[in-house]
Symmetry: C2
Subunit: 242 residues, 2 copies
């Protein structure tokens, strides 16, 4: 009996996911983009001040690990960059992606333009929605975080990090786009390197920021569809004419 | 002596304004857009709950005045829509623009694309930056407001209102664009009618919202340049394909 109840639950879940996928496709069908349904994960290592020291060193041009700084002796080794779990792993930059996939089960998607469909936006902060995105010969980490910077006022922060060095990151531009109810919000920026620590990017507010009312305006039945595009960097047209 | 000191002050002010104008032009020179330097005004009538009743009636399809509801007997008359001052004036929608220009000294600019250069962004909330914008045969009111929704955490809210009815407003789309430091933020929406009350649009958060850190990233020396474009409405491309 329990087995049949579980089967029925699983089928319902599948139907629900399929329905969400279909809805996102309707909205972002323009370029036949891939839609990826991303469920939230409660961050197990959330600590806002964790990266203060790391950030200070980054500003001085040194690229420290995000945590366990005392453990890194070989400068070629980087710590685990997973925003969700405190993990003692460290390794070369080239194997960060396979570590994130295998150990932390973070999905990876291919394609220049994809749709990130974050479900269950109503769940209480802190919460993270994470995927990796493979594109233009590199891998990127997309993080959407629900966090209460000011107590009782959760906000959503979305950013894209290159799994690579800061100088490699400067070669790209990423775009996050929300589009619903005759409203459109676009954020374009150069991705930051994963070595700079996602927590400090979010605490600096140098990313797409949504307060709860805007997130609700762009959500559909508790899910937020974010269109993502990555291009190789060109100097923004109006700045180039300076 | 006092006269010479004042003259010298005035010349310095002019040089400062000219410099700001030049800087904004450098950033937004692409389409030969008009740059309008807008100084802040401390709102003299700020009261967040003022429009609660008005908003409730608007949701029921009635368009009430924003304040002094008891004074409006002729349904063709609308109250003064100036977001800055509590003003007992009321008149027909067609003469709101001339009232705002003459009585409240709000500037009006012509052109489909203009740059709104808000100065002195550091001044404490509540503060408003306001101009009117004449375009496509209609007049729009652009309001940038610095306000503390949460005590100690000022935010910036920018919206565009049509000086006309809600059904006329549905024919347009406005775009606000910030562009600096290899970051770009765009907000596109249908303007709301001035009859819906700017205070309720801002308290709903249905507008471009910037927290202090983002506003600083986009500001240059305390001034924020917002590129503004108005077009006649077409259903957003990806929604049209639904």
């Amino acid at each position: 009996m329990l087995f049949f109840t579980q089967c029925f639950g699983a089928v319902l879940d599948l139907i629900h996911l399929r329905f969400q996928h279909y809805k996102a496709k309707r909205v972002f069908s323009a370029a036949g983009q891939l839609v990826c349904v991303v469920n939230p994960t409660h961050s197990l290592k959330y600590a806002p001040t964790r990266c203060a020291a790391a950030q200070a060193s980054t500003e001085q041009g040194i690229l420290p690990p995000c945590h366990h700084p005392e453990a890194v002796h070989d400068p070629q080794l980087v710590p685990c960059t997973c925003p969700l779990f405190s993990c003692p792993w460290e390794g070369h930059l080239e194997v960060v992606v396979s570590h994130l996939r295998q150990t932390h089960r973070i999905n990876i998607l291919q394609g220049a333009e994809i749709v990130f469909l974050a479900t269950d936006m109503h769940l209480p902060a802190p919460m993270d929605w994470i995927i990796m995105h493979s594109c233009l010969g590199h891998q990127f980490l997309l993080v959407l975080r629900k966090q209460e910077k000011y107590e009782g006022h959760p906000q959503f922060f979305a950013t894209m990090m290159l799994i690579g060095t800061p100088s490699q990151a400067n070669n790209f531009t990423y775009r996050l786009e929300l589009n619903r109810n005759q409203r459109r919000l676009k954020w374009e920026a150069t991705p930051r390197s994963i070595l700079e620590c996602v927590d400090s990017v979010i605490s600096d507010g140098d990313c797409l920021v949504l307060n709860t009312s805007l997130a609700q305006l762009f959500s559909d039945n508790g899910s937020l569809a974010i269109g993502i595009a990555i291009t190789t960097s060109k100097v923004h047209s109006s700045e180039a004419e300076m």
